[in-house]
């Protein structure tokens, strides 16, 4: 395909890009037809893409070719119809990755920029094939870039153009896979660490209503992905569950934190509105956990795959502990309210841990949990969860409440893992010893000292 460069050079930018897309299509069709496994687009072709579509300078001497805004729009339209008209999935996927797979070079910036515009456009005009390709892209790409794409979309739909949220809202029906990945990316992006990293209310509302209407939505990627343990390094989590748990647990304190004297107007409002949303979202998350045992059992993965990672939970508890400390420091004005919000955060944490553990989303022992929660202040429910139910409860029908970490099956990580691990070693770091966390002394067989006093 390299030989077409000469014919492309004299053309104007748009027609050259157009011509290249045309040839790329033919080239990939032939590639797929040839049956070579795996079909691999050659480096020469990728260079052509960078030169004529992404307009990365070929070498220092060559003048950078640029497109006008109008030309760029025309190119995007052509790309949209190009993906729309291609009926074969494989060809489309190859074409998409030929265009947008990050190459770790200079062209990646314009690649990301063009991708953002293309996906944003595809959402606006409902181009399902592009959204599907983008969903795959979000699974394979490093999370940093996924988050950047999400940021572009949130900016376009939630900040730039008022009233365009309903358009974005539709993606849950047009492409559930993309929607699921988008949620994962957004929850990764907004970790509530600062005001900038707090999701806009419209976005929050949208996500809550998506999940409320269809809790399985957050599991779509997980359900459609054959789990091989070969997740690309540092890609997004296979579900947004971890991110959603973080949102719900941190929200009471994060939104409170915004209520600094300087920001009295508006923030109170958003807090009042966000409160019930997070409550509903938290319930939805628990309900999703409850769907898991059946799904995991069907896939033969119950007790082998942790959808929630101990590391991220540990990060969450340490974040939370820091937030609680800060809240305490600011608490001189309204300590009662602070206490209520702190307890709400801890209640949610306890609930998420317990329900996730009981439904096989979290593979660890209560001892592990006690380790990561050791720095948290007292909360009745959390203590109950950490100590576990009283086991002499006379019940013969009780199903196993928690996954035993010493199960015969070897767990598989849903999380990007380090390839150095041997295939049958437990991949999730859930083993009982977490040297990095200071642990409270705990003696088995003794009544748990912090069991709630009823």
């Amino acid at each position: 395909m390299g030989d077409i460069r000469q014919s492309l050079l004299p053309r104007d930018v748009l027609s050259a890009a157009k011509e290249l897309l045309y040839h790329l299509d033919i080239y990939i069709c032939n590639l797929v037809q040839s049956g070579r496994q795996p079909p691999q687009v050659d480096a020469k072709t990728l260079e052509l893409v960078e030169e004529f579509i992404l307009h990365a300078p070929k070498d220092r001497n060559a003048p950078a070719r640029r497109m006008s805004a109008l030309q760029e729009l025309q190119l995007l339209e052509i790309m949209c119809s190009c993906f729309q008209e291609q009926s074969r999935d494989t060809v489309r996927q190859l074409m998409f990755s030929a265009l947008f797979s990050l190459q770790g070079n200079q062209a990646d910036e314009s690649r990301m920029s063009l991708l953002g515009k293309l996906v944003s456009m595809a959402i606006a005009v409902g181009r399902v094939p592009i959204l599907e390709c983008a969903a795959t892209w979000l699974q394979r790409t490093h999370r940093v870039y996924c988050v950047r794409l999400a940021q572009v979309l949130v900016d376009d739909y939630c900040s730039m153009v008022p009233g365009s949220v309903p358009t974005l809202q539709n993606i849950h029906s047009t492409s559930p896979r993309f929607c699921c990945q988008f949620i994962t990316a957004v929850t990764t992006l907004y970790d509530l660490a600062s005001e900038e990293l707090t999701p806009p209310l419209e976005l929050l509302q949208m996500i809550v209503s998506w999940i409320h209407d269809d809790p399985r939505l957050v599991l779509i990627t997980f359900l459609n992905t054959p789990l091989s343990g070969s997740q690309p390094i540092s890609s997004l989590d296979v579900t947004p569950l971890g991110g959603l748990v973080r949102w719900c647990v941190k929200a009471p304190l994060a939104y409170r934190r915004d209520k600094k004297p300087a920001l009295t107007n508006g923030s109170t409002e958003s807090e009042a509105e966000a409160g019930p949303l997070f409550s509903a979202l938290h319930l939805s998350v628990l309900q999703v956990f409850m769907l898991l045992p059946n799904i995991l059992n069907e896939k033969g993965l119950f007790g082998r795959l942790a959808l929630l990672q101990m590391e991220s939970l540990a990060a969450l508890t340490s974040d939370l502990s820091r937030l609680l400390d800060q809240a305490d420091k600011h608490a001189h004005t309204s300590s009662a309210e602070t206490h209520v919000l702190s307890q709400l955060a801890l209640d949610r944490l306890a609930q998420a841990l317990q329900v996730a553990m009981a439904n096989g989303a979290l593979l660890c022992s209560r001892e592990d949990l006690r380790a990561i929660c050791s720095r948290l202040p007292h909360n009745n429910l959390l203590q109950l969860v950490l100590s576990g139910p009283v086991m002499y409860y006379n019940n013969i029908h009780t199903p196993p409440l928690t996954f035993s970490p010493h199960s015969a099956h070897s767990p598989i990580a849903s999380h990007p893992t380090h390839p150095a691990h041997a295939p049958h070693t437990p991949l999730a770091t859930h083993s009982s010893s977490h040297p990095q966390y200071t642990t409270q002394p705990f003696m088995t067989g003794m009544p748990f000292p912090f069991r709630p006093s009823h």
Binding site: P276, S279, A280, H282, L283, L286, Q287, M290, D347, R348, A350, Q351, Q354, V355, M357, A358, N359, N380, L381, L384, V385, G388, P389, V390, Y392, Y393, N394, N395, H397, T398, P399, L401, P447, R451, P452, H454
Partner: protein, 693 residues
């Protein structure tokens, strides 16, 4: 520090939150359940939240969990009984509908199990049956296991609860709900004897339902004529008003008959389309009956008897409901009044001598007399006794549905004859009658009596009428309103008198009959029937009285009182009785004198007046007539008299008072004859009774 306390703590937190933040409350309970999955209170609390919010799907899911995990919890059973009650009720309120919807979300297997267990926990037979019925209706496969048992339970309950009538809640459920499920389930093999037993149970119920009497309170309103009978409410004890309604009972009965017939492999049975067709088919079948033997014969007999009996009862009902609509609930009584089948008495005006000689061959005619004006002529081809194809005369304008009514009467008679055409059939039919206690069915007795009268079997008819009187004895618990009773009573008396007349028994028993007739006449006018009905009943009664008096009046011995009565009575239907009147005049002439003090009170017929005026003249024979009561009464009313010129010169040479009386009487010729005669009956009641033969 026990599990119990943990659970209480968790549920308490959820309860605190539920009003302000239901999502948080649910999150607590979800967490609680994963901690203590075996704790009932946690799951019940979850269920209550969903149920109170009327979220059908999630409440259903939780109910299912509770049912599976806590089958022994009384609270679960209380909840299930609330739901099954909603299923049984016809309430349309929102919560009942929610509960029904909730039940629908459960998997069929669970619904089935739930209903079965709910049934087991139910001690009231009726509720239990209704519950099981829900099960059978939803899960046809359960009919095989439970259908017959349920049916038998209901029949046993009916027997043990001593219900008075076949129209009771148990039978209703059995016949209308259980039976169709059982007989239409082809997976079940039911013995023919059982099918027939069930068939008869169904027939008894439907007939009882159709022929049920009006409820007492409605009757009182009905008398004032304000309430249309179509809108009557009827409730079977133990059932709701809605489920007390049985639509199209005769058709439903026919449906059951068709299925039973098909399953019992009845002859020539191609799905019973109508009762009339059925009678035709059964008649044909009857011809082969004598040639059949053993089992085939037995089966054929059953088929004939059951089919014919149903046709008989239906047609008899249709006939009686036209003749005596007030007997039944839901039959429109306002369109036509009660009707009475009596002998045609127009021969009463015939000459005594002729009649005496020809009692046996007299033209007996029957007519269906209603309470209104009618033409009362009929004729009869055959003599007494047989009476197979006699003619019934009805005023067609008075009874618009006369042809249907007479057709029903005919079909009923044919069915009856068919059932009595063969010993085997008669025995079977009598068994049915005995088990249904048809002897106590007043309406059926009315039909039978009419049929016997029609057949001309008056002696039998009289005993039938006596039986009817026995049936009419007010039964405990079923208080018949007075109007109804006396109407029926008088009806019977009129028919009794008619029979006696037909038998030629003027002397026997007549005192009572005529006396009661007078009573009837009096009461007629005052309370009983609709006013217009007197017009029809009265002439008939007068004819009967005439029949009683004329024998005596024309006897060899002198009886001026009877002769006077005859003259008064002969005014009716004048000049039909002219011949008899002339005979009376002859008798007076022979006697040379005649004393009848009521003459001027009740004789207003101008021809008769003329004749009597003439009798006083020399040309007439100077007959001594003492017609003035104590010679006084008339003089008082002299002043109002108009002077009329009476022919034949009676003004010449007659005593002044007689002349005045005569003139005054002439002025009364325009008076309504029936009211004159009615007055005669009322005022002279004692004299009449005393002078009866």
């Amino acid at each position: 520090m026990s599990a119990q306390k943990d659970c209480e703590f968790l549920v308490k937190r959820a309860r605190e939150l539920v009003s302000d933040d239901p999502c948080a409350a649910k999150a607590w309970l979800i967490t609680a359940r994963t901690l203590y999955p075996a704790d009932f209170n946690i799951q019940y609390e979850m269920y209550i939240i969903e149920r109170n919010a009327e979220r059908t799907a999630s409440a259903g899911r939780l109910l299912y969990d509770m049912f599976i995990n806590f089958p022994d919890q009384p609270i679960v059973w209380r909840e299930i009984s609330v739901i099954t009650a909603a299923l049984r009720s016809d309430s349309q309120d929102k919560h009942a509908q929610f509960l029904r919807g909730l039940f629908e979300t459960l998997p069929g297997r669970v619904q089935c199990e739930m209903l079965l267990k709910a049934t087991e926990q139910c001690f009231n037979t009726l509720e239990k049956a209704e519950m099981l019925l829900l099960l059978l209706k939803r899960f046809p496969e359960s009919v095989v296991q439970h259908g017959v048992n349920l049916g038998e339970t209901l029949l046993e309950a009916e027997a043990s609860e001593n219900v008075e009538t076949a129209v009771n809640c148990f039978r209703k459920l059995f016949v209308c709900d259980v039976l169709p499920l059982v007989i239409n389930n082809m997976d079940m093999r039911l013995p023919a004897s059982l099918m027939q037993k069930y068939m008869l149970k169904a027939a008894e119920f439907y007939i009882g339902y159709v022929t049920r009497g009006p409820s007492p309170d409605v009757q009182i309103q009905g008398k004032s004529g304000l309430v249309s009978r179509g809108s009557q409410r009827y409730v079977i004890d133990g059932l709701s008003e809605k489920s007390s309604v049985v639509a199209e009972p005769w058709e439903r009965l026919l449906d059951i008959l068709a299925v039973v017939g098909a399953r019992c492999e009845w002859q020539g049975d191609k799905g019973q389309r109508s009762y009339v067709d059925m009678l035709q088919r059964v008649k044909e079948l009857c011809r082969y009956l004598p040639g059949l033997e053993g089992d085939t014969r037995f089966r054929c007999c059953s088929q004939v008897v059951i089919c014919t009996a149903l046709v008989l009862f239906r047609s008899a009902f249709l006939y009686v409901s036209a003749v005596q609509p007030a007997l039944f609930q839901g039959v429109n009584a306002l369109s036509s009044g009660p009707w009475i089948l009596v002998e045609d008495l127009s021969s009463v005006y015939n000459d005594v001598e002729v009649e005496r000689g020809a009692v046996k061959h007299a033209h007996k005619k029957r007519k269906l007399a209603d309470g209104r004006e009618r033409t009362m002529s009929s004729d009869d081809e055959e003599g007494l006794g047989k009476g197979r194809s006699r003619h019934i005369v009805v005023n067609k304008t008075e009874m618009p549905s006369w042809s249907e009514t007479l057709e029903s009467f005919r079909i009923a008679r044919e069915s009856w004859d068919l059932l009595h055409s063969h010993d085997g059939l008669e025995t079977e039919f009598k068994k049915i009658c005995a088990s249904w206690k048809t002897d106590s069915w007043l309406w059926f007795r009315i039909f039978l009596t009419d049929m016997i009268i029609y057949q001309g079997q008056y002696r039998k008819a009289l005993s039938s009428l006596l039986q009817m009187a026995a049936v009419q004895q007010p039964q405990p618990g079923q208080q018949s309103p007075t109007g109804q009773t006396s109407l029926e009573h008088h009806r019977a008396l009129i028919q009794q008198a008619s029979c006696h007349y037909a038998l030629g028994e003027y002397r026997v028993n007549n005192t009572e009959v005529v006396m009661t007739l007078i009573v009837v006449i009096i009461s007629e006018h005052n309370v009983l029937l609709l006013p217009c009905t007197t017009k029809a009943i009265l002439p008939f009664c007068l004819q009967l009285m005439l029949a009683c008096f004329k024998l005596r009046a024309f006897a060899d011995s002198r009886d001026d009182l009877s002769l006077g009565h005859v003259v008064v009575l002969l005014q009716q239907d004048w000049p039909q009785g002219e011949l008899l009147f002339l005979k009376a005049v002859d008798k007076i002439c022979q006697q040379g004198s005649f004393q009848y003090e009521n003459f001027f009170n009740y004789v207003t017929n101008i021809d008769m007046l003329e004749e009597f005026a003439y009798l006083r003249t020399p040309e007439g024979g100077r007959i001594q007539l003492e017609l003035l009561p104590n010679q006084g009464m008339l003089i008082k009313s002299q002043s109002v008299c108009l002077h009329h010129t009476v022919t034949r010169g009676i003004t010449k040479g007659v005593k002044e008072d007689f002349r005045l009386a005569m003139e005054r009487q002439v002025s009364r010729c325009g008076e309504n004859l029936l009211s004159v005669l009615h007055r005669f009956c009322i005022n002279e009641k004692i004299i009449i009774i005393q002078s009866l033969p």
